[in-house]
């Protein structure tokens, strides 16, 4: 298996709320392999965005890391000082955010925002910075002359998203984190955007990690998938393993609940029940109240994420009885 670029070990993240502490990420370990396209999939509130925030140290004020470590190329990120932290961001890992539509300063032209991103990290001239910005805009398929002197409100949503992707490449980062990058975009824009990302991944060999709730979005470009449920990672593996040879009932249920534009619809059905509240999660396996394979042990023992061969890890006590059809 490829060398991990990011290694998360026993990470616990909590949020302080009125009722006490919510454990949003509970004892998560995950390796993000270098040079590959990893997808982290989970429903809203499962903690996937919190993992990204923990990696980038951008947790909200009431969130904190209780335990665990996050290594980037073997170096512990949690021990970085503030200035190191700032230099690390974007230079090593760049991010394309969920609400990228609003992630540009509305009162500055786009060129200026790109140039200052370079200038705050590298000692190059303004001219060089602008040149690099133009080149990258071209790389993602935009006309630099049209975009550089525009304010964000003057270009369309799809173009804005492409600008953000170009911006993310400004410092030649080793890794790109994409947090729901296509939310609120039209189907066709979404398609082109994912194509752009896929091409960049192939062309530049840059490590990608895409966080999303939508399985369909990653099927084309991702090559490794981690599935998250209620604060825990339940299954990790190469994409075909996960889609065609899953051994976790949640993964199977999730895939079965996604309608498609082709194929048989009659087997599609929702997962019964509701995702649990993280304030008071179920005992044992967190999926047990909704799972059709539940036995008594599932209520008592927390299943560990363990390897079942083929670089495939799953967290189910009954994994050997469970297969995709």
């Amino acid at each position: 298996m490829a060398i991990p670029i990011i290694t998360i070990k026993d990470l616990v993240v909590e949020y302080k709320v009125r009722e006490g502490a919510i454990r949003v990420v509970d004892d998560v370990s995950l390796e993000v392999p270098k040079g590959r396209f990893t997808a982290l999939i989970g429903e809203s509130g499962c903690g996937k965005t919190t993992i990204v925030e923990a990696i980038l140290n951008t947790l909200p004020p009431n969130g904190y890391i209780r335990k665990g470590e996050i290594l980037f190329n073997g170096k512990n990120l949690l021990s970085l000082k503030e200035e190191e932290q700032r230099r690390f961001r974007w230079k090593k890992i760049a991010t394309v955010f969920q609400a990228a539509q609003n992630s540009l300063n509305p009162i500055k032209v786009i060129g200026e925002q790109m140039v200052e991103t370079i200038l705050d990290h590298e000692s190059v001239s303004k001219k060089e910075a602008l040149k690099k910005s133009s080149n990258l805009l071209e790389l993602v398929g935009l006309e630099p002359s049209r975009v550089v002197n525009s304010y964000p409100h003057e270009i369309s949503g799809g173009m804005k998203q492409k600008v953000i992707i170009a911006t993310s490449l400004l410092l030649d980062p080793e890794m790109l984190i994409l947090d729901e990058p296509t939310t609120a975009l039209d189907l066709i824009t979404q398609f082109y955007l994912l194509e752009t990302l896929g091409k960049l991944h192939k062309k530049l060999g840059i490590t990608m990690m895409m966080v999303t709730h939508d399985v369909s979005n990653v099927a084309r470009h991702a090559d490794r998938v981690a599935i998250m449920y209620a604060g825990k990672i339940v299954e990790v593996g190469d994409i075909d393993e996960i889609f065609y040879n899953s051994h976790h009932p949640y993964t199977i249920g999730l895939l079965n609940s996604i309608p498609s534009i082709i194929g048989d619809l009659s087997k599609k059905k929702p997962i019964p029940g509701l995702p649990p509240s993280l304030l008071d999660p179920p005992s044992g396996c967190r999926f047990h109240p909704r799972c059709s394979y539940t036995e008594e042990v599932c209520k008592n023992i927390v299943p560990e994420l363990k390897s079942i061969g083929n670089e495939h890890l799953t967290a189910c006590l009954r994994w050997s009885d469970i297969t995709t059809e």
Partner: protein, 330 residues
């Protein structure tokens, strides 16, 4: 572009006209006729019957008593359009002259106070919002709520009692001493500033508190915007984010209300100027109403209403000038 501006101007004129009409009829309905007192005086001093004296007083001020209200109204409108605001009944000089003398003082004090208050207050507000957990925040919030709770005229009175009456650091009243010659010379400007210090403080002290709160709220909401967290994620330098991301965006809304505050200050100066007997517009406003001096009252109303409307218009264009979204958008 043109049509919307002309429309705005038209609406403004209609508003001024309506507001002036309202104030005209209201002021004419005021009892306690000053002419009555003046006629009594004339009767006594000249030994003529009261009716004759009254007629003569009215004639002096161009207000033939028999004239119905609506005729006076149209006469008033006509004069106003021609820029003639009439003669003050009490001061016996033209209202234009009084206003021309009073305006500079009010504008002088108000503009200094507003800019002082805005600069100090908004700087503090941004700093507080940016650096959440410092001792500055509770201190500034306490300051803001205490000054907010205190009516400005009480602040003025307290300043007067402490610094003018007891410590005698500043003069008790007036805009300048009799021993300096008004004009563009250093002793005069210095003297005027010396006299204006307490009035300026009376405006600035609560002003700072207000701007702190406004700016803090604005900056906190900007801090919640995605582009700020995105800027942090891009590893931009803290100073850059604070100034050109948070500060510049947060100041947009407060900056435009600056003009409106200035407009409303012209009308609200009465109490403070009265406390310091500072010969600005507010001071004369108080006098005019106390003495039932209609022409002066009307003149001052016209000016403050015009000021408020002008300020509002200015605010809109200012906004369009500093915010690219309004400037180029539809």
């Amino acid at each position: 572009m043109m049509t919307s501006i002309t429309k705005r101007l038209l609406v403004s004129f209609v508003t001024i006209f309506l507001a002036l009409s309202i104030t005209f009829f209201l002021t004419r309905k005021m009892p306690g006729d000053i002419f009555y007192t003046m006629a009594l005086d004339k009767m006594r001093t000249e030994g003529i019957p009261f009716d004759v004296a009254y007629e003569r007083v009215m004639a002096i001020y161009g207000m033939a008593s028999g004239e119905p209200l609506y005729k006076q109204y149209f006469a008033y409108l006509g004069n106003t359009i021609r820029g003639r605001l009439g003669t003050s009944i009490y001061y016996h000089i033209s209202v234009n002259k009084i206003i021309a003398k009073a305006i500079p003082w009010t504008v002088f004090v108000c503009s200094i106070s507003i800019f002082l208050g805005f600069i100090i207050g908004s700087a503090l507000g941004t700093v507080i919002a940016w650096k959440r957990k410092t001792i500055l925040d509770p201190l500034a919030s306490a300051y803001a709520s205490i000054t907010d709770a205190t009516p400005s005229y009480i602040i003025a009175t307290i300043l007067l009692v402490i610094f003018a009456v007891n410590l005698k650091w500043f003069p008790i009243k007036g805009a300048y001493s009799v021993d300096v010659t008004p004009g563009f010379n250093l002793p005069f400007i210095w003297n005027a500033l010396y006299h204006a210090t307490l009035p300026i403080l009376a405006y600035t002290i609560p002003g700072i508190g207000g701007w702190i709160l406004t700016m803090k709220a604005s900056a906190i909401s900007v801090l919640g915007e995605d582009y700020v967290s995105a800027a942090k994620a891009r590893g931009l330098k803290e100073r850059r984010i604070a100034i050109s991301y948070v500060g510049r965006n947060a100041i947009l809304a407060p900056f435009t209300s600056l003009a409106i505050v200035f407009g409303s200050m012209l009308g609200g100066a009465t109490l403070i100027e009265s406390v310091f007997a500072y010969p600005g517009m507010g001071f004369f406003f108080g006098k005019a109403i106390g003495l039932r001096d209609y022409p002066l009252m009307q003149g001052l109303f016209l000016l403050t209403i015009g000021g408020v409307i002008l300020a509002t218009l200015l605010a809109d264009f200012l906004y369009a000038a500093i915010d690219p979204r309004v400037r180029k958008g539809g």
